[in-house]
Amino acid sequence: MAELEIYKLSRRFKSGGGVSDVSLTIEPGRLFVLVGPSGCGKSTLLRLIAGLESPDSGEIRFGEAGNADRRDLIAMVFQNYALYPHMSAFDNIAFALRLRHLSRPEIRRRVAEAAELAALHIDLSRRPAELSGGERQRVALARALVRRPRVILMDEPLSSLDAPLRSHLRIELKEFQRRTGRTVIYVTHDQFEALTLADDLAVMRAGTVEQVGAPDDVYQRPANVFVATFMGNPLMNIVRCRLPNASVSAPARSSEPALEIGGKLAMAMPFGLSGEVLLGIRPEDLTYKSSSDCAAFEATFTRVEFVGPGYLAYATVAGQELTALLDQPIEPGRTRWLYAPRRALHFFDPVSNRRIG
């Protein structure tokens, strides 16, 4: 049985934003990531699940738990953690238990248990201001855990940290989720964080869900142009091109033009498509090397940046811009053929922007 079913949920704000008609199913024990640009409604969706906002229409059903008080089912880890600064770490974690009038030994036992699960091994009499960023995160996790919620909601818990700490705590969060087995719904605007953390992810835009799936699935088979360009850095190239009407089933040489971008693109691999399409290619999939099953582009380079592991080359192909991440530098002004393997080509409908083929 699903942990959580969201059915046709809508919540609109006068100032714009919110979510429209969102339906999602979240399975138990999974780390489910909601990702999208700012203003896409991901935080609103999380706050609706938490009960901090009321929906205009639609429903949120908690699977087995049925109709218990929402506040007993879920817990939330906020951006900046929202720890109570005037209380010790212990009192922060114990706050919910004291409200429930548990006995002192019971409170001590459950705080210790939650601290253990959150890998929080510090003097719990210290206040949040005396703790490091990582320790604060662990206090926030223990505070969320101590009530034994079924679902833990996390609202960009890493977004205000600097890069090294962020990457360290990301790994810790993932291990925390594995260890506790809790269902976690995690909101982020960072596509990299979403890819590395998620068991499942939902890409949102303008209040609606654009695609749901496993990270490699979403990255390798984006459902539309928005998802294709939002997930991945540097951005996926999107070029407009025309497929010939006839399609040949046998692989051809790269010099045989079978797919045109203003007459400058040569495509080795015929395909069950024709007419005008949008072709998406990630910069890291473009190389100098051709192979038997690949597309070729005659690119004129305009600018090259050294980016450490490679060279980010900006080129024009028949008047359209293309970026390639190459392992060798190239002089601006030169023209060379670039190749991309069949599996790295993404086709989208030019009208609906949806994936085809």
Partner: protein
Amino acid sequence: MPGGGARAAPLRFAIDCLAVIGAAVPIYLLIKQAITPDLESFAWPPFWLPHHLTASNLKSVFELAELRSALLLSVIVAVAAAAISTVLGTMLAYAMARRERLRQTGMAGVTIARLLPMIAVALPLTTVLIRAGLYDSPTGMGLALIHAALAIPTTALTTYGAFVAIPAEQEEAAWLDGASPLRVFLAIDVPQARMAIAASLVLSFILSWDEFGFALLIQVTNRTMPPLLYYYTVFGDVGPASALALVMLAPAVAVIIALRPMLKSGFIAAPRH
């Protein structure tokens, strides 16, 4: 700014001196007048050092029954005014910090209250107090209510910043932890705003303690300290008046000494987070 350091130095020094002199000179003169015979106070050129010492001013003032009752009444009025205005001001500030619409109304009210000349409002208020039987009350409750009303803008502005500085997420976290809205206010907001609440108690106490116009108008026979001091001053008894003034300075000096470490932050005068 480069070079600014050197150029600003004389200005800075001048302002430093001004501040020290501004605070120290009046207090020094008070003490001097309190312990010297009256004639010396008006001598010209003035004596900057006391020539003759006397304890009679202080002694005569403390022997006055009038002083004891005025002191008691002033303390009662100031404590009541501070308590009432801090409780109401804190609630108003919290409501303003959490509700956009109320913040605007509240700010407009506070601004208007600061702009209206109190002396002009005194007259109708006095009429209202006469009708309510609180005019010249021996417990000073009419004056305390007026002082509380006068102090609400100050207490509200003093605590407002502290409540605004508490992120809404902390309240949401406490609510999700199972707390009622009242419990959230008492367990999360009040403890964090405690310094500002203390500051607003101090400021509203001093405001009432020092208030002169309404005290003069309302407590015509059951006098508080400021009118008493005024009468002594007007009757030309500079020595006893100075001794009275020193008594009036006592709570302020006590607060200043107690809060010495916090003075430099300016927190009491203008709490900001």
